[in-house]
């Protein structure tokens, strides 16, 4: 048996560096309104997650939470490309994916604080953010399961002929669990209108993905096994993500079947709030901090002639929204005790006997 930690000390594996050129999508055929929308969404996610981090450090957010800092371009790129009635599914790292569907900041933050005005009434928490009315069909804490569930939503759309598409986000670690493989085969067999998006941030919790995956590209190198085209993109360039999303959604909507997209990105923080992330080579962390999706996008908009004052205005509007959400979430009441016994069954109750 040959073990990775026999080849390199823990945390001292070869670094994977980001792309060098931030300008290659400057001339992409994307209109300015859409681009401004993409910028705003990424700002919302960035500032919201920073606030969530601060509140966790103040111990107002309990338990744990998994932040999307550094990974905003993927959620924003797909969120803007999706139709309002499309379905999205995410893992427990789902704050950005929830905001991407237009869910308000207040209910999301209030849910993290465990308040009655939280998105889930304090019943689900950070890892289960769901808003059916926005098409955000949930954040799932057991990786792999939600790929199979996304298939179901896609099947339903196909059965009803609605043209809706299901988009399912997951990490690189998910590509090694059984449900991933079952779901891909299943989606391909029935040509389901589903897009699988692997947010490859190079690390499966506290272990570098390359140490425990048989192939170099955890998602793209599995696509062919299920009859799909390998797609690997720069997950930190919102324009590249957006264009890929538009194409994959169109393909699904046309009845041509599922896609598997591998978007390479990087976490600014650890796996969860409890993790300071000391197992990543310093040079790698520094390079990826510099290859920041929000900074990249701001730079692009500047090069395209957008007035910095306009971008500052967007930043300020987002900051104000985050402050207001913080205030309203913090003012939220604790969930009423009786609510613990509600909503197990469709009748709103939880009784198992007469």
């Amino acid at each position: 048996m040959t073990l990775p930690l026999q080849h390199h000390p823990y945390g001292e594996h070869d670094a994977v560096l980001p792309p060098g050129d931030v300008t290659r999508h400057d001339s992409a055929p994307i209109d300015l309104d859409t681009r401004l929308h993409l910028y705003r969404r990424q700002q919302e996610m960035r500032q919201f997650e920073k606030r969530a981090y601060d509140l966790f450090m103040q111990q107002l957010v309990k338990g744990t939470s998994h932040l999307s800092l550094g990974m905003e371009a993927i959620a924003a790129g797909f969120g803007v490309a999706m139709r309002a009635d499309d379905y999205s599914f995410a893992t427990y790292r789902g704050h950005a994916h929830t905001l991407a569907r237009g869910v308000g900041m207040t209910p999301v933050l209030a849910e993290l604080l465990g308040r009655a005005n939280g998105l889930l009434g304090g019943k689900g928490g950070s890892m289960h953010l769901t808003s059916v009315e926005h098409g955000m069909l949930g954040s799932y804490a057991i990786i792999g399961a939600h790929l199979t569930i996304a298939n179901g939503a896609a099947w339903s759309a196909q059965y009803r002929g609605s043209g809706q598409v299901a988009v399912c986000f997951f990490g690189d670690g998910t590509t090694n669990i059984g449900a991933f493989h079952e779901a891909l085969n299943y989606a391909a067999v029935y040509r389901l209108p589903v897009v699988f998006v692997c947010e490859n941030n190079l690390y499966m919790e506290y272990t570098v993905t390359s140490d425990i995956t048989a192939v170099r590209r955890p998602a793209a190198d599995r696509a062919a096994a299920y009859g799909m085209t390998p797609i690997e993109i720069d997950g930190n360039d919102a324009d590249e993500v957006y264009q890929t999303a538009v194409a994959a959604l169109a393909r699904a909507r046309s009845g041509a079947g599922p896609s598997l997209v591998e978007a390479v990105t990087y976490r600014h923080g650890g796996h969860s709030r409890a993790d300071p992330g000391k197992y990543r080579p310093a040079a790698e962390v520094a390079a990826w901090q510099a290859y920041d999706p929000v900074a990249i996008y701001r730079g692009r908009l500047r090069r395209l002639g957008v007035d910095p004052a306009q971008l500052d205005r967007i930043d300020k509007e987002v900051a104000d929204a985050v402050d207001e959400a913080t205030e309203q979430a913090s003012a939220g009441e604790l969930p009423p005790p009786g609510s613990a016994m509600t909503e197990l069954w469709a009748d709103g109750g939880s009784s198992w006997r007469n």
């Binding site: 009434g121 019943k123 769901t130 009315e133 949930g138 179901g152 896609a154 339903s156 059965y159 085969n185």
Partner: protein
Amino acid sequence: MAQLSYREAVARGIAQEMDRDERVVLVGEDVAGAGGVFKTTAGLLDRFGPRRVVDTPISEQAILGAAMGAAMTGLRPVAEIMFSDFFAVCWDIVVNQIAKTRYMTNGQVSLPLVIKSGNGGSLRFGAQHSQSVENWAMAVPGLKVVSPSTPTDVVGLMAAAVRSDDPVLFFEHKGLYSGRAEVPDGEIVDTLGTAKIRRPGRDATVVALGLMVPRALRAADELAGRGIDVEVIDVRSLVPLDVTTILDSVHRTGRLFTVEENPRLLGWGAEIASIAVDEAFWDLDGPVQRITTPHIPLPSADSLEDLVIPSVESIGQTIEKALQS
């Protein structure tokens, strides 16, 4: 009225509901073209077509995940897990996803789905194809659990399960598939959460499920010949549990027995015994006894399997001995 086998009743119940509601679909391994490995879905593909009756790969997680996703978005799927032992392969989807999602989302999500499965032993299929796993499901909040013992109940409870907006695990008993009985014509819709007194009696309350119901009834007939008159209740539904019918009966008879095919520990009878000892303590004229398979996997040899699963003789002897001490 018509004579129907239990397995035909399964198909009839599903067909009744698929006829009535376009959103009802059926999915599972070999359910379409082959009509089910136990022929419980025979004829449904011809009647409803491949769009509504779907054959799948061997992918239990994918099958149940698809059922869940479809139920979240407007369909009312019936998914099959061929042998209930296979629930272990996809238990994450059942207990972490299906059972919990409505609660965690504070009611945003409804899951009107049914998972049907061939449960139980007595057919010499060996330990990995013969288990009674209804208790695994009973133990997890958020799942409704039924297990009919007669063809009429199969139709009615399948209809109730499909019409319920909650996830229902529908445990068919493999050992009852070929049993035949009269089933009324027309639409049959039963009620989840209701037990039925199959045989009224005075001297003891005997609660049974699935294959144990006909065995308890035959034991009751034999005991009647020896002057012991027991009341046999078919519990039918573990969640919701019809405690009222059971405790009413215990009040009248003063003695309680459960007959469970599952291995001993934490079978559904333990919960009923616990409730009785709590809420009907002052009605009890003797110890509550559970008649169960011992706590072992099921052996495959017919002689051994017949020895360990409660039999008509062992049920009758246990009750008689208890009442006479």
